[in-house]
Point group: C2
Chain length 327, copies 2
Amino acid sequence: MSSTTKELVVPIEELRSFVVRSMVAVGTKEDHARDLAELLVSADYRGHYSHGLNRLDMYISEIKEGMTTSGDNEPTILKETVATALVDGNNVLGPVVGKYCIDLAIKKAKDAGIGFVTAKGSNHFGIAGWYSIRAMKQGMLGMAFTNTSPMMVPTRAKERTLGTNPLTLAAQGNHGDEFVLDMATTSVALGKLEMQDRKGEPIPPGWAVDQDGKETRDAKNFHGLLPLGGVEQSSGYKGYGLAMMVEIFCGILSGSSFGPNVRTWKDFDRAANLVDGASEVLVPGDPERKHMELCDNLGGIPYHPNQITYANELAKYFKITPMKLLK
Amino acid sequence: MSSTTKELVVPIEELRSFVVRSMVAVGTKEDHARDLAELLVSADYRGHYSHGLNRLDMYISEIKEGMTTSGDNEPTILKETVATALVDGNNVLGPVVGKYCIDLAIKKAKDAGIGFVTAKGSNHFGIAGWYSIRAMKQGMLGMAFTNTSPMMVPTRAKERTLGTNPLTLAAQGNHGDEFVLDMATTSVALGKLEMQDRKGEPIPPGWAVDQDGKETRDAKNFHGLLPLGGVEQSSGYKGYGLAMMVEIFCGILSGSSFGPNVRTWKDFDRAANLVDGASEVLVPGDPERKHMELCDNLGGIPYHPNQITYANELAKYFKITPMKLLK
């Protein structure tokens, strides 16, 4: 958003105070409300309006509808080593859990050189970058990840199976410079697609798929987001792989819930998930497993004859015994 | 490669032995040669032929031309904590350094819950997945990263500035299942593009740029690879950001060299690097810094009037004092 005469300006302290009084009004503890306020203010200040004041009603609803605890709960450590911890958020506001976890990771990193904390029983934690920046401000490389509700349709699939699953890295540069990567592992955020539709423009290539898992340029046919990289030909499976990495760090490692279709891993193989005419849905590592099975069946590794000729020339040149072939 | 009658099969033990005798013939210590052999065999076995026997001549050249030490050098630890270490590879073969580092990280992870090791003075270390799988086989989540020589043209730039900079995560699943993400942060590997050219087919969208930094479909005009995500509209800046993440972990954190145009960071801003007609080249975090400067100048955060109306309605509903605007 650029500053035009139509826009109104809210002082930062006033915005913070408004979020706190709104959350306290629905029963949130004041220190929890302050944690949330800090995060929403930061999002708007950094220009990520979708994750700032715009999200306040979502957090209010979470509390009002009992999805998030507004009582005396606090996050607790279930298990830890000098450098790692498993935290139970005990269903308090996501930003309260997130702040607790990044502060614990920072403390561990100061002691051990690195800290890695994963949480279950948490809720929507806002912009991921807030957490990585918090660690960066302590002179560290800060990272954060979160899985989210399903929105991404994996390569060759047609169901929304993984979230937008963002990852972030913040690193201080020289002379006050900063590197703050904060990205969803889908090709774009849903908001970008909505804006495209509002402008009456077609969806650009690589953004979205329809009910059949086929790339669509028409917002009316939108069913899910493509992973970063778009369709298979432009390596969408890499974004899909990154999203699964985030699920592993956040959902699986913490023992909390993750996208319903990811739950059993093998669900990807179900016929109902397959795009018509496409080959099977894969997870990273599957093609290599197939090749290793082939090698095992053959009793060795198959090579193109040119590769063997090359090896033989090498052997001749260095007076080395050449490779013996199986057949 | 599928197994056809044209292909020749080499038993795995024979392949391993051939690599060892080739490397020993040019002066490599036998245990170092064994480390390399292990890696090349694994690449071919997993079906990544580009990184197996196919690369043997490159390692031989490294030794012969004195780029890599063939003497008595071994990697050494320069600095360490219970969970982290900085290693000097002392210019031995990349796979020797890589194996040393992942084994050190595994040992630290056993002690501290997580281990993170970065190395300088190393060389081409082969497929990244070999290292993550090695940790996975110890019951861990394994990760590995490496920066490489420049091949990726960042979003809005026209010079090759970053490498293909791969990252990998390996995680054991139930019932012998595995998740092995092993991906370059460019949209595709160079080899894929060469194969497309050999088939006489145009380069698919999102793969490559020409000398002017513009997307090209013609292999004759190939200048560099696009980052994962392709052009800016399909979020290529995310792949570019991931490649920089890898540079930070491998080049900057270890104090070793990294892509010459990355070295001073601000090089991106030089006019010579800009695509004609495009706006400035950015690093992750730059747009947010601009927005924060805007807020600082305004004395608060600018909002669309509808956002303020929404906040006022919220305040009214919960009987909260509404936000005071700056203007």
